[in-house]
């Protein structure tokens, strides 16, 4: 067992967990933050993406013990008063159907827009599709997700 302390969505948390605990398990089972979804558990689908120290990471493929002292943001930590512009854009552009992939899509997309803005690069529709290579959606066919990201990028 290892004592793991992190800041999750701005709050300091600390739990004694088995060393092999994945970040996805730490969030869902120990902190009861079930907004982070586990689709494949084999790092293919991206449903479990969260931000670790500001970067998109697949929480099913990271050990909680290795993240002692880190800052983690999950889908629950994104809305600040109102919805985050990315959440709003997914709603308005019908960027989700069943919603299973949506937390990961949104966390990946926020990270993507932040990186492109920091580098001063243009985020084209084609670039968005490339950046979403690690996020699988079985419902939407992706068109409305790409539209939502373009829409939010203009507002972030």
């Amino acid at each position: 067992m290892t004592n793991v302390s992190m800041t999750v969505n701005g709050k300091a948390v600390s739990r004694e967990v088995p060393d092999e605990t994945l970040l996805s398990e730490f969030l869902r089972e120990h902190l009861r933050l079930t907004g982070t979804h586990v689709g494949c558990d084999t790092s293919q689908c991206g449903a479990c993406v969260v931000h670790v120290n500001g970067k998109a990471v697949k929480s099913c493929s990271t050990l909680a013990a290795s993240l002692d002292g880190s800052q983690v943001t999950t889908i629950e930590g994104l809305a600040n008063g109102g919805l985050h512009p990315m959440q709003q854009a997914f709603t308005e552009n019908h960027g989700l159907q069943c919603g299973f992939c949506t937390p990961g899509m949104i966390m990946t997309s926020v990270d993507m827009v932040n990186r492109y803005k920091a580098d001063g690069k243009e985020l084209t529709a084609q670039a968005i599709r490339g950046e979403l290579a690690g996020n699988i959606c079985r419902c939407t066919g992706y068109h409305n997700i790409v539209k939502a990201v373009e829409d939010a990028a203009a507002k972030m």
Binding site: D19, E20, S43, A56, S61, S66, D68, R115, E131
Partner: protein, 264 residues
């Protein structure tokens, strides 16, 4: 996943000692391969020795015209490094094309080459560029380091600390992605520099990454896409699986070699 014991190594000596002490201890870097293997029970290490917090393990520096990349440097850091973009833009492009953004934020160059997946990108880059792998006990040339499917020259208690890559005068990488895994169905890295003309192929060899003598001779004489296209690539010794036959891969090697030269 079976229970394991997590260690955060404070130094290389500390890591080597922990590897020696554990019953079946393994190095943990990005975990992008190792944790998946543990979930499938293909690996069940008694101990995981995380090397990422060791001072000097991550980051890119230069030694003259030589790039020195710390073993725990992530794919995103290599792709974004101004030194890599200046001295070897083809390598920056290779790193930018690995997996997806989340994998690139965590996966490391040391983990990729230690794993030596037959479809991984870095082995082709390092072999073509004539890189040297620096470990906790020695320096190993890329020609000797990669030894077949998931096999390298590393000993069980040996830790890769950095990779030294000489700048090439010309280099290009082209990859045909397997769209589901994002790995290379075939990838060709072609380079010309102090070590001559070297062409390395990943994704296609039954024994993992390999150099293609015919392409090296043709491009050594004439660095052009036409010269690459004139080389007949045989299908003997190439992988065949549900994704592609050996003949299809042989053809792709020629096509990717042309694109690699065009990109150089």
């Amino acid at each position: 996943m079976y229970p394991t014991k997590y260690h955060k190594a404070a130094s290389i000596d500390d890591a080597v000692a922990a590897l020696g002490a554990g019953e079946e201890a393994l190095v943990l870097a990005g975990g992008q391969t190792l944790l998946a293997t543990m979930k499938q029970h293909l690996a069940s290490p008694s101990d995981l020795v995380d090397i990422r917090a060791i001072d000097g393990m991550s980051g890119v520096s230069t030694d003259g015209d030589m790039l020195v990349i710390g073993a725990a440097t992530t794919h995103a850091e290599v792709a974004g490094s101004a030194d890599v973009q200046r001295l070897c833009p083809a390598l920056a492009g290779l790193a930018r094309g690995i997996g997806d953004p989340a994998v690139r934020h965590v996966g490391t160059i040391g983990g990729s080459i230690a794993n030596n997946d037959p479809a991984a990108d870095y082995p082709a880059g390092l072999l073509a560029l004539g890189a040297t792998v620096v470990t906790s006990k020695r320096q190993i040339g890329a020609d000797d380091f990669f030894q077949g499917l998931f096999t390298t020259a590393l000993d069980d208690d040996e830790v890769i600390t950095s990779v030294r890559i000489p700048a090439a005068s010309r280099a290009g990488y082209a990859k045909f992605r397997q769209p589901a895994s994002l790995f290379a169905l075939v990838g060709v890295f072609a380079a010309q520099g102090a070590g001559g003309t070297r062409v390395a192929v990943t994704g296609a060899g039954e024994d993992g990454v390999f150099r293609h003598v015919g392409l090296e001779a043709a491009l050594g004489a004439d660095w052009s896409a036409a010269a690459a296209g004139g080389v007949g690539v045989a299908s003997e010794g190439l992988l065949a699986d549900i994704h592609a036959s050996a003949e299809y891969r042989a053809n792709l090697i020629g096509v990717m070699a042309k694109r690699a030269v065009e990109a150089s």
